[in-house]
């Protein structure tokens, strides 16, 4: 039994919101052996982060543990005071946060933050700890391992910060590390590097870890066992290979199946939109170089690329928010004015947009009726009864019933908000909808619902989509055509099959091979192509 490091029994946690207590964790057991890595997966609201923090005996402000025990190496953390628990935090258990950029103190040098807790607890002297930190930086493949610690957080990239944070977590040689979605904010090519570095170092020091994520393929690479959570309860737990090969519960199977979404071929039609040799810049900084993209009517063109590739800028040029410096945007063979203000109402009506953050894309003070009704009035001149009827019709198109018509955005779930945004775009009766990362902020199952809805609407209304995303599996699921962008240039484009079948452009190759697969050996066997 000495083998067991962490034993959580019957844990219940509640949180205070809307003037009352809500259960967040409803009685969860968790057992972790020394050196074992457990993956915690689930959708947002499943309580996985709360559980991860609770494994350290920590609760967010506004939350409290109401029942259960958290026995870490023989001591029940749930019974300790904060001052007593502090002797464990940063000492025998450490934490790696989701956003390293926000989780480092901007005022201190990286190496000082890396060794702070190690020195505080007297695990080693400052000089020893710093020397060790430099070794860890090297082990994590950080460039300039000897000097990178002298920099401030804003001076290094997100992927590097995430690795520095892993070094910080490893510095006191803890028994347990909690990884809370550590690669979610990273681009795929960066994610691979970070995953590799983290796995290597956890194996090297035989540290136990809890790895929290919503990405199954990622957890498959990292974890020995996987626990699936939903609504604050355990769905099932099994070792990684068994879980991937034969999930028992329906919910787990549904998580697995999202990636199997497929789109049927659509007949080729004329081009509704042609972006021709467009270059654009923000001030003096050029961001797009000679970009050409065609969108055939009734089809989905996915623009895929990492942050900084210029994919969202393409959308800003097409909609006229950022007038291009060079080149033309043609709509059905007619050149569109570069500036939004120079376009007439009809030109504006035909191209609509849906955004990543449905939250911020809606006026929080307007009801669903007002949100959807406004384009009806503005573009189509509908008022009174006719407008009201059309709003209800649009709601039924997005599979929401009339009850939602008087709600405010704050009374909707993430998926419902995005559906309202879709209805608002549809209200203008557009021919082309630009979808900018519309599913990135959503859980996988909700994502699937939104993608299915978009596909159904496309068939029914012969809509064209320009679908901007960084997520390759979404691209696979919904596209007819794929455009790969890097550093403001189109590196490859064509039909989905043509782009996804080798031979690839080297960058496309790197992008595709960086996407984690549902195979526990994928990372081990991975050989990434070299970019020249």
């Amino acid at each position: 039994m000495n083998d067991i490091l962490l034993d959580i029994k019957g844990l219940k946690i509640q949180g205070w919101s809307d003037e009352k207590w809500h259960p967040i964790i409803k009685g969860v057991d968790l057992t972790l052996r020394r050196g074992q890595v457990m993956g915690l997966i689930g959708e947002s609201g499943a309580g996985k982060s709360t559980l991860g923090l609770a494994a350290m005996g920590f609760t967010q402000p506004g939350c409290q543990i109401t029942d259960g025990s958290i026995v870490f190496d023989g001591v029940d953390l749930a019974k300790l005071s904060d001052a007593e628990k502090r002797k464990y935090w940063g000492n025998r258990m450490t934490y790696v946060a989701q956003s390293a950029a926000a989780s480092f103190n901007p005022a201190h040098r990286l190496i000082d933050q890396t060794v702070a807790s190690t020195v505080r607890f007297g695990i080693s002297s400052e000089a020893e700890a710093k020397a060790d930190a430099r070794t860890l930086y090297g082990a994590l493949n950080l460039p300039h391992a000897d000097t990178i610690g002298d920099r401030y957080p804003h001076q290094v990239s997100g992927g590097q910060l995430q690795r520095v944070m892993t070094a910080m977590a490893m510095s006191p040689r803890p028994d347990l590390i909690i990884f809370d979605e550590p690669t979610t904010a990273l681009d795929v090519t960066t994610q691979v590097e970070v995953l590799r570095a983290m796995r290597k170092i956890v194996e090297e020091f035989n540290t136990a870890a809890i790895y929290i994520t919503h990405d199954l393929a990622v957890v498959a690479q990292m974890a020995d066992v996987i626990k699936v959570l939903r609504y604050g309860q355990e769905v099932e737990e099994a070792d990684t290979r068994t879980m991937l090969a034969a999930p028992k519960e329906d919910y787990t199977k549904s998580l697995w199946s999202v990636r199997a979404l497929q789109k049927e071929e659509r007949p080729k039609q004329d081009n509704i939109l042609s972006v021709k040799n467009v270059s654009a810049s923000y001030g003096k900084v050029p961001v797009l170089h000679n970009v050409s993209i065609d969108v055939p009517r009734g089809s989905t063109v996915s623009v895929v690329g990492e942050s900084g590739s210029g994919k969202s800028t393409v959308a800003r040029v097409i909609t006229g928010l950022l007038p291009q410096r060079d080149g033309v945007v043609e709509y059905q063979g007619m050149s569109l004015p570069a500036k939004l203000n120079d376009r007439n109402k009809d030109q504006k009506k035909r191209i609509q947009m849906i955004y990543q953050m449905a939250d911020t894309a809606m006026n929080p003070r307007q009801t669903v009726r007002e949100i959807i009704g406004r384009p009806l009035e503005f573009y189509l001149g509908l008022t009174g009864r006719a407008k009201e009827e059309r709003v209800r019709e649009l709601l039924s198109m997005i599979e929401l019933d009339d009850r939602f018509i008087d709600r405010l955005p704050s009374e909707l779930s993430g998926g419902q908000k995005q559906r309202i945004c879709i209805a608002r775009a549809l209200a203008a009766e557009p021919e082309l909808i630009i979808c900018d990362e519309v599913t990135s902020a959503l859980d996988q199952i909700v994502q699937e619902g939104i993608l299915k809805l978009l596909m159904r609407l496309q068939t029914e209304l012969n809509l064209s989509y320009l679908f901007i995303t960084h997520d390759i599996s979404t691209v696979r699921a919904i596209s007819d055509h794929v455009v790969v962008m890097q550093l403001g240039r189109v590196v490859e484009q064509g039909t989905k099959d043509a782009v996804f079948q080798p031979p690839h452009d080297p960058y496309t190759d790197l992008l595709l091979s960086s996407v984690p697969e549902m195979d526990p050996d994928w990372l081990t066997n991975l050989k990434l192509p070299e970019l020249t």
Partner: protein, 326 residues
Amino acid sequence: MHPVLKTVVQRLGLGLVTLFIVSIIIFAAIELLPGDFGEAVLGQAATEDTVAAFRRELGLDKPAVLRYVDWIAGAVQGDLGNSFSGRSSSGVDRSRPVVDLIGPRLWNTMFLASFTAVIAVPLALFLGISAALYRNSIYDRVVNAMTLTTISFPEFFVAYILILVLTSLWPIFPSLSNISPDADLLDRLYRSAMPALTLTLVIVAHMMRMTRAAIINLLASPYIQMARLSGASQREVILKHALPNAWAPIATVIAFNLAYLVVGVVVVEVVFVYPGVGQLMVDAVSSRDIPVVQACALIFAATYIILNLIADIIGIVTNPKLLHPK
């Protein structure tokens, strides 16, 4: 050149430009003052000829632009001209240079401001940081309530309450702060204790509350949670993780209050009969002693600009993103 040094030099240049523009505004505003010094001194009975002669003697008959150039050229060399008061229609000129007039007064004002700042700034910082440290405790509430109370009353009221308590009921300090120029430091401190105490009560609240708010504002940051999760105590979280990122807003509010100590204390000066520059300016306005008014206004403007410049520089050097660019 280091980018921070460059920014500081730029700000310094901008400060000079601001001061120049302010000097024009001061001059123009005084031009717009109703009435005329000549008439004010000589009275209604004076003939137009006498008034005109008097104006000529003072140079008031020259065009405004010329007078401005004379004034600003002198000011740059430290010569703020001669006061109008002390002259009379009889031609006897007992007027004194503005610099001599303002000098001792300004020194008194600076002394009071520094005395107050030395008490008020550390006190406000201590109260603000400790209130953040023990947020929502009884201590926090008491400190907040007390400072709010003192800032809510008008200055003269606070002053009279203090006089009641500290000079009448328990006679510790003198209620009159008439300092003679040759008083030694201890005597000066003793005599200006009452106004300094009053001003402290007036300005502590603002600085303390901003310090507390700036720190608490940062406590929701992910890096603060990270610091807690690495075992830092509440004290360490506040002092080492929140405070270093809060200096910019704190410095701004301190600069604002210090500037107030120099330019806005006339009420307190009057209550305690303290010979500061505020009273001088008010007297000068009522007697239309234009050179003195202009000089005071210029000094006040320069005070504001310099203090805000210092606050800006503190904001820059405590921001690692500016201090250590990529």
